[in-house]
């Protein structure tokens, strides 16, 4: 028996998107403006915690579109990153090792932190490579 076999019907959600996607787009525009003017390097909008209906979600995806870059990251579970058609607006989804969506957010920046190698990791790599070279 699966969950679908339980004869409970959830009340149908409101048809069509709400005003939320357009409100979000205004917020994105303001943050993008701040990054463009150099008042900020990086901004984020948490999508996971917002009460977006499936229709809202779909409309937000349509409004932002898909851009030129997409990437998959494996760090204690999968993460998906893509730049939207609005340059500098990135859409990120983090999954746990159990494949559950644990975070979803927009990052407004030139390059998302998840794609950058942290300086500490880079320095640790220097030591690791040195070790390997010494062993040869």
């Amino acid at each position: 028996m699966s969950l679908d076999d339980i004869p409970i019907q959830i009340a149908p959600p409101q048809e069509g998107p709400s005003e939320m996607p357009k409100a979000l787009l205004h917020e994105v525009w303001e943050l993008l403006q701040a990054v463009c003017a150099g008042r900020s390097v990086r901004e984020r909008i948490d999508l996971h915690g917002l009460p977006l209906s499936p229709a809202d979600y779909q409309q937000l995806q349509q409004l932002l579109g898909r851009g030129e870059v997409s990437a998959l990251i494996e760090a204690s579970g999968r993460s998906e990153v893509f730049e939207t058609a609005v340059a500098g607006v990135w859409w990120l989804r983090d999954f746990g090792a159990d494949e559950r969506l644990v975070a979803e957010y927009l990052e407004i920046t030139a390059l998302p932190l998840m794609l950058m190698t942290h300086h500490d990791d880079l320095c640790a790599a220097v030591a690791l490579l040195q070790q390997q070279l010494s062993a040869e």
Partner: protein
């Protein structure tokens, strides 16, 4: 790990990159309703900390809280919390036993005096000198007072440690109380629930690790981030309550259609917790979504608040007339119940 190493250094050696910290913190920020821009700040702070010594004390309890935080399914991003702490003492989980176990606790206390975090599950019996629960010849009260003396803060996990829970249910034969009835000179935060939601526990610990202090609390000592709203406030069936659509039996048409469970005794309107948003079992569901009303397990004295299956209107607000009015008046009464739930919280909590 060398004492001077940061958490970032140690985990990097284990192959855990800063990206993993970022993911963990993004998940924590989401669950705690923190601004998304806090996640990178949290990740930097967490990477720069030392591994936190944690002493877990189990008193009058059923181990359900430990089961909840450990969980039995596939490892999740939240379970990384176990890489961020040094769990120096835990009856159920530690390999050591007997004297060796107690020595491990003493050693952790000595080495981290004033800095370690104490997590307590279970209530503390005070009647007859506290003889109803002892460990290594010491009453739970003695152990708690001794260990708390060197703690930076205490976290009471579960309704038993927070408010006395099931052992405190009438007639409370052991004189059980919660931690904050005893410890008055240290910060104590309550994470009630029977058991508490795993993400609430990991989120609170992560918050302490990254900010160096316990998060903002409500008047019952609970983190506002997780206990700021009632189950009813955030329930997906709330619109059906507003429309007066109630299930009146577990097998009637209303139940099959997923209508509001208020008439079947749901305690959602007076229960503050995050079940309706974070949910359980990897975000799969929560009791109301599975067709059963909320029992109110994160509220003080929930065991003594009459039948789980009596509607709130019949138990606390006089009679079933309130329910009939709710069905008729819909939204107005819905708002009224929300106000009443907050106003009468203290009265209801005392089981009066």
């Amino acid at each position: 790990m060398k004492k001077a190493d940061t958490l970032g250094d140690e985990l990097r050696r284990q192959g855990i990159s800063r990206r993993t910290f970022l993911k963990f913190c993004a998940a924590m920020a989401t669950s705690m309703a923190l601004p998304a821009s806090m996640a990178p700040v949290m990740a930097d702070a967490l990477a720069a900390t030392r591994r936190q010594s944690v002493i877990w004390l189990s008193f009058q309890e059923c181990t359900g809280c430990t089961e909840s935080i450990l969980r039995s399914y596939a490892p999740s991003i939240e379970s990384l919390i176990f890489d961020f702490i040094s769990l120096d003492y835990h009856h159920t989980l530690q390999a050591a036993a007997g004297r060796a176990a107690e020595d491990a606790r003493d050693q952790a206390m000595q080495e981290n005096w004033g800095k370690y975090l104490v997590i307590v599950d279970g209530s503390i019996p005070l009647k007859d000198g506290g003889i109803y629960s002892t460990i290594d010849g010491h009453t739970n009260l003695e152990t708690l007072e001794t260990v708390a003396a060197g703690a930076a803060a205490l976290i009471s996990v579960g309704t038993c440690a927070a408010y006395g829970g099931l052992p405190m249910a009438r007639p409370n034969p052991t004189g059980a109380v919660g931690v904050d009835e005893i410890i008055k000179d240290k910060p104590v935060i309550n994470l009630p629930g029977c058991p508490p939601i795993p993400e609430v526990m990991t989120g609170t610990i992560a918050s302490f690790l990254t900010f160096g202090r316990l998060p903002e609390m409500d008047r019952l000592g609970r983190p506002v981030a997780f206990f700021g709203d009632t189950i009813h406030d955030r329930c997906y069936r709330r619109p059906l309550y507003e429309r007066g659509k109630f299930a009146r039996g577990f097998d009637d048409e209303g139940a099959r259609k997923g209508w509001c469970l208020y008439a079947l005794g749901c305690k959602g309107p007076i229960t503050y917790n995050a079940c309706a948003t974070i949910k359980w079992n990897q975000g799969q569901s929560f009791p109301i979504q599975s067709g059963h009303g909320c029992l109110g397990c994160s509220e003080p004295r929930f065991w003594d608040k009459d039948s789980f299956y009596k509607p709130l209107s019949a138990t606390h607000w006089g009679n079933a007339a309130g329910l009939a009015a709710a069905a008729a008046a819909g939204a107005a009464v819905g708002a009224g119940v929300a106000v009443l739930s907050r106003r009468h919280q203290d009265t209801i909590a005392k089981g009066e």
